[in-house]
Amino acid sequence: MIEAENLTKRYGEFTAIEGVTFNVDEGEVVGFLGPNAAGKTTTMRILTCFMPATDGVARVAGYDVFNSPLEVRKRIGYLPENVPLYIEMTVRSYLNFMAKTKGVERSARRQRVGSAIELCGLGGFQDRVIGKLSKGYRQRVGLAQALIHDPPVLILDEPTIGLDPRQIIEIRNMIKNLGGEHTVILSTHILPEASMICSRIIIINEGRIAGTVTLKDGKVAVIESSTSGMVNLAESGKVYLRIQGSSEQVLPELGSNQQISSVQLESEEDGVGTYVVAHEAAIDIRAELASVIVRNGWGLLELRPVEMTLEEAFLELTREKVSMG
């Protein structure tokens, strides 16, 4: 649905983005994650035909953003970062105007405005002047105008910025539920948000793509680095243990287990040792570990799987650039 190939944007000497290449498939909810000034907004503005790329090609819903911008614009819903709205209009008249300019047929307009209002929780606010709404509600109006023509592609730039915690949760759920029927790409610099909403996260840093993280059930599953080309399965297969018992006995006992690839003693204090056990990925040895420990008469104080967090994935991917450059 969205294809970006080698997108580059230069302002004179300054390069905002370079060589940005990625794909978003139909129905995916993809996050565009990166620190501020990484190039997220620039990339989105190129995808929405707001500005042309200096180099590279982008296609949205099959249409080239440079050659067929009007076709692209018919098929996207875009919410810019600062949520610019006509603050002197009422919610309903604004959404009516947006419906008209986005090509919603007159006969369908009323129904579409109504459903956008309902979907974004704006019921009861239709006749309020936008200038009098709180930030959270303005954001909803912004989302409503992006959805008003039921576009196949949604491009959302930092959709939860500036909202209070409760509003953030509502908007996140809204966005998550839009996937499947719509293709969504959203940008954020909040890591937990990306892992909550998106199935795949493209990491951009200093104008370049650092890598992609694929999530499964909200946890890091696959990491692909764009700089080194490596693909990691992030299942670290690690278990963290705190065992009451002498490490001189624990280490060899655990080490002798065939399914365990390594045991590391992290620390020991007052007879309690902290261990990290690495095992083959894709198997769950927690039950076996527990029974081994208990059978040997040691105290099992803590046992939990160690998962790579998105923070770690992010740091790993963005660190590579520093070491390579």
Binding site: C49, F50, I76, P84, M98
Partner: protein, 240 residues
């Protein structure tokens, strides 16, 4: 061109929500009405006859000051608030945006002119004036206004500051207004060219009640040129 009506309506609503439209209407009608009363008072007493010619000339000069205020917000405000980003990423062409906004400013201007009809109305009520010259005079004002508004649309699209847009518009209009005054001082060919370009030269005939198609063509071409320029400027702003 199907988006033009929607943009037109939205822009009209925006005009009447801000104080600018009301200020402009009041100021213009007040000044025109005052001048009308003063002149006709004096003329009927001391001259024995009077016509609207001087009034029309006076209105055209007032327009120099007032019309830039009508166009200053058209694109500048959208750039300032960022709403231009949503406009430019919707399936609306640059030409539709320019025409819709220009049409709204033209409609506001027409309302402003129409409010001054009360002056000739007084004349019709209390005497039997020649209607034709007055109608032609208003036609001239309308065409002049369209030209002013087209230029103002251009200046609004080159800046995000409304005041700057209004100032540049005023200075440009003034320049094009007085450029004809030099025609006496320079050689005859250049002099003719300068007075041809001048906005006010073409209005003279209208104020006298004379319709000459060459003046109509001038104003229509002027407005068309500047509207075309506005579309190009809006397009080029995306190229930065």
């Amino acid at each position: 061109m199907k988006n033009v009506p929607a943009i037109f309506v939205r822009e009209m609503k925006a005009y009447f929500v801000s104080p600018i439209a009301y200020v402009v209407l009041v100021v213009f009608t007040l000044l025109t009405g005052y001048f009308f009363a003063a002149y006709f008072n004096w003329a009927t007493r001391y001259q024995g006859e009077a016509d609207m010619r001087v009034i029309f000339l006076n209105m055209s000069i007032t327009m120099l000051f007032v019309v830039p205020l009508m166009t200053m917000r058209l694109f500048a405000e959208e750039k300032r608030t960022g709403t231009i980003e949503i406009l430019m990423t919707s399936p609306v062409t640059d030409a539709e945006a320019v025409l819709g906004k220009f049409a709204a400013s033209l409609a506001l201007f027409t309302i402003m002119l129409a409010l001054t009809f009360v002056c000739p109305l007084f004349l019709i009520m209390y005497s039997t004036p020649d209607i034709a010259p007055m109608a032609i005079g208003y036609l001239g004002l309308f065409l002049l206004g369209a030209a002013f508004l087209a230029l103002g649309t251009v200046t609004s699209s080159i800046t995000r500051n409304q005041i700057v847009a209004a100032l540049i518009s005023f200075v440009a209009l003034l320049g094009l207004w007085v450029i004809g005054w030099m025609s006496g001082a320079v050689g005859s060919q250049i002099g003719k060219l300068l007075s041809f370009i001048s906005l006010v030269e073409h209005f003279e005939d209208f104020s006298k009640g004379i319709i000459d198609t060459k003046h109509i063509i001038y104003y229509v071409s002027f407005a068309s040129f500047f509207l075309f320029l506005a579309v190009k400027l809006v397009q080029s702003a995306k190229w930065k």
